[in-house]
C-alpha cells in the first residue's frame, strides 16, 4: 500500500492503495466516483474512458502509479468544459442513451474527438467512436449527437 497524489476534476486527492491498482478502481472504490464504468478490464470496451491531460484514456489499463501529475478528468467533471457540456446536451436532445452504462465512455471519447477536431468527418467520427462498445446499439444516435454537438460547440 502506498500514498498517491492525484488531480481529479481540478481537485487534489490522496489515495492509499496498492500501486498496481488501475485508475478505474481508484476512482470507483477509492474516491467513490462511480460515473466511470467497469466493462471489461482489458481496454476492449471503452466504458472506463477518462481524460489524462485531455487525452481519452482507458482507465482500466493505467495503474495508479503511472498517472503521475497528469490531470484526470472524469464524466463527473466534464460539464465544466464547454465542449463537454455541449456533448452532454446533444446526447440528451438526441435521446441517445438506453441502458446508459457505456455512455460515460462514449461521451468522454466524443469530447476528446471534438476538442481535437471540432468538425470531424463521418469517417473520423466512426474511427474515434468505433472502439467504444454499446450493447444497446445506440450507435446511429451517437453519430447524430456528435454532429449536433459539433455544430453547437462551433
Amino acid at each position: 500500500m502506498k500514498d498517491f497524489q492525484l488531480e481529479v476534476n481540478g481537485e487534489r486527492r490522496t489515495v492509499t492503495v496498492d500501486p498496481s491498482t488501475p485508475l478505474l478502481w481508484v476512482l470507483r472504490d477509492g474516491l467513490k466516483m462511480t460515473g466511470t464504468k467497469y466493462g471489461c478490464g482489458i481496454g476492449a470496451c471503452g466504458a472506463c474512458t477518462v481524460h489524462l491531460d485531455g487525452v481519452a484514456t482507458r482507465s482500466c489499463l493505467v495503474p495508479v502509479s503511472l498517472v503521475g501529475a497528469r490531470r484526470v478528468v472524469t464524466i463527473e467533471g466534464i460539464a465544466r468544459d464547454a465542449v463537454g457540456a455541449a456533448v452532454q446536451d446533444a446526447w440528451v436532445e438526441t435521446d441517445v442513451v438506453q441502458c446508459g452504462y457505456c455512455q460515460s465512455g462514449q461521451i468522454m471519447t466524443a469530447v476528446a474527438l471534438l476538442k481535437s477536431k471540432p468538425d470531424p468527418s463521418d469517417g473520423e467520427v466512426e474511427q474515434s467512436m468505433g472502439g467504444t462498445l454499446c450493447r444497446c446499439g445506440t450507435y446511429a444516435r451517437i453519430r447524430v449527437a456528435v454532429r449536433r454537438a459539433s455544430s453547437r460547440a462551433k
Partner: protein, 729 residues
Amino acid sequence: MRRFDNTGGMSRRSFLRSSTAAAGGLLVALYVERSAVAAGTAAAPAFPPSAFVTIGADGRIVIMVNRIEVGQGIHTSLPMILADELDADWAAVTAEIAPVADVYKDPILGMQMVAGSTATANSYRQYRELGAKTRAMLVATAAERWRVGADRCRTENSVVYGPSGRSARYGELAADAARRPIPEKVRLKEPGELRIIGKRVRRLDGRAKVDGSQKFGLDLDLPGMKTALVARPPLFGGGVKSFDDKAARAVAGVRDIFQVPLTYGGSGVVVVADGFWPAKQARDRLKIEWDLAGVERADTAALLASYKDKARRTATVAAAIGDAGAIDKLGADRTIVAEYEFPYLAHAPMEPLNTIIRYDRDRAEVWMASMSGTADHLAIAQVLGLPPAKVTCHLLFGGGGFGRRGPLDCHLAREAAAVAKQLPGTAVKLVWTREDDIRGGYYRPMFVHRVQVGIGADGKPAAWKHVIVGQSFMKDSGLPFEPYLVKDGIDHLVVEGTVNHPYTIPNFHLSADHTKVNVPVLSWRSIGHTHNSFVVETMIDELAARAKVDPIEYRLRLLRPEEKRLISSMKLLRDKTAAWRSSLPVGRALGVACGTYYGSGIACAVDVSIENGRPRIHRATAALDCGVAVNPMTIEAQVHSGFVFGLSQLVAGGAITLADGVVEQRNFDRFTPPYMADAPVEIDVHLVPSTEAPTGMGETPVPVISPAVANALAALTGKRYRTLPITKL
C-alpha cells in the same frame, strides 16, 4: 381475505385502496389479481401498503414503474400512459422503479419480471386506469369544494378547472383526494383525447445517464460493504477438490475466502475483500485443485457433428400440416436442401452482473437489477432460510439485460445469498468480472437446422420439411411456465418463428430434438426467433430469387391473409424504401426480412456492400405495426437497439465455442459484439398508424436484421450464408 378468481385466461379482477401519504400527498394503489395458476402460487395474496402514484403538495408527481429499466425505455413509457389519463403536467413527473411486492406484479404474468416484450402490452390498461382513477379522485375533491357536479369540471396540465373561472392545482387537492374512495369504474380517454401517448417524448433517465450520476448496482456503496468474486470451475458442473489460499490471504484488503455451492452444480471458491481490485488480486492467487471427474466435456466440433447427424432424422413432431410425403414427390431439381449452424451466444450486457445482499440473521435486504424480481426474491429467502416477508428486495437500473439478468434457476440471486449468509451483518456485493460473464454459460443455445423445401410450379414453396436440433432451457425445468410453453414434448421457445411462420405453405412438417448438453443455456433477446427467423427468412429469400420475383412482392404474395400487421408493415416498407431501392449504387444490394414477433409485425430492408471483407450496412429501414405507439421515440430506439443486438449473431467474433468442455472466449478481445462500424450507419423507422392495444417492441426488431443482411450478401456474392457467425464472405 380476498381470493383469486378462477376464470383464468385474460380475465382479472382489480380493486384499489388509497391511503394518505405521510407528506400529505395522494397515494393510489391498484391491486390486480389473476388466476393462481398463472401466478404460480396458490397462497393467498398479502398485499403490502404500496402505491403507483404520489402527488405532493408542491405538485410533484412520482410514478412507480413495475418493471426494471434495462435500456428499453419502460421507465418513461409507463409513466407517460398514467400521466396522460391523469392529465398531468409532464414536466412535474418523475419515475421510480418499484421494489419487489405483490402489488407490482405484472397483471397478466402474475409476477414481476422483464420478459417476452410484455411490459407495455400487459400494463397499458393498468396504467391508464391508474391515471384515470387518480384524476377522478382529484376532480371529485375539487367538485366537492366548489359544490358543483364533477361533470362540470375538466382537467388539464395538473389543474382542475370548474365553472365561473375556478381552478385548483393537483398539489392543492392531493391531500384531500387521497381520503376519498377510489372509483370502481372510470371512463378512459378516446384515442383523439390522448395528449402524451403517441408523442415523441425524451427519456426521464436521459440526463442522469449522461452526467455519470445514474447509479447501477455495481455503483452502489453501502456502509461497510465488501466485494466478492467467485473462482468458478473450468468445466460447467465441476467442483472444488481442495484449495490453497495462503497467497490470496496475503493480499491487503482480503476479508474472507471460502467454498460456495454453485446453482448449476459443483462449487467454487469465493474471495471477499474491501474492493474489486484486492478481490481480483486475491482470486488470481488462489491455487485450486478442481474435481472434474465424470464431468461431461461439451465440444463445439463434436456437438456440431452430432447435431447434424440428428438433424437427418425426424424428431419429436412440432407441426404436421398437409401431406408429409409431398416433399419426396418433387424432384431434386425442384428441391432445396439446406443445413444451418448457429453457435452459443453470450448476452454480455455492458454492466457486469452483480447482486448485493445484507443478511441480518432475522431479515435481509437485497439490491439487484433483476429481470425476475418475484422469483429471485423467493430464491434468496429460500437460501437464507427466511420467510419472504423478511427479505426486502430493491430493484435497480440495469446496465443492459437481454435476458441475462433473469436466469430461470435464479443462480445470480442464489449464489449471492449463499455468500451473504456466511457474513451476517455485512453488505456483500457479488460481482462477475467480464471473464466470468463470457465464460459463465447461460448462453443462447447452439442449434442446427436442416430444411428441405420443395418448390411448386408457381415458384412458391409446395412442401417444407424442417428439423431443429438444440437444447431447451424450459423442458424439464419444473418452472410454472413449463406447462404453457412445453406441449407434447416440444418447447415452443425452441421452434417459435418456424412453427408459426407467417406464410402459406400447404405441406409443412417440423420436428425438434431437444438434446441435452452440459452447457447452461438461457433466453437471449427474442429467444427462438433468433435462429428460426434466420432460417425461414433466408430460405424465403432464396425461393424469391429462384422465382425471379422481387423479395418484397414475393413475401406479399405468400403471407397468410390473417398476418394483417405484417402485411401492413410490408406494404409500408415497400413504399418507404421505393426511392432508395431503385437507386442503389453498383456494389450495393438490397436485403429484406420480416416477421411477427410478440404481437407486432415488422418488415426490414437493408442496403449493404462489402468493405474490407465485412458487410457494410449503409442503411436499414424498418416498417412496423405495434398497435398504439406509446412513445415513437422509444420505439425507434428499440429498433436501433434490436438491429444492433440481432447483428451480434452475424459479426465474425460473435460466437461462444467450447473445446473439450472449456469455453474458448474470455473477454471482448475474442468475443466481439457489434461496434459502430458493424452497425447500420443510418436507420429509419416507420410506424403503421393504429388505435389497437399496444404489443411488444423490445425484442421485435432483433430477428429480422441478420437474415436481411445475409440476403443482401447473397445478392452480392451469389453465395448463401447458413453458418453463423459469418466469418468469411
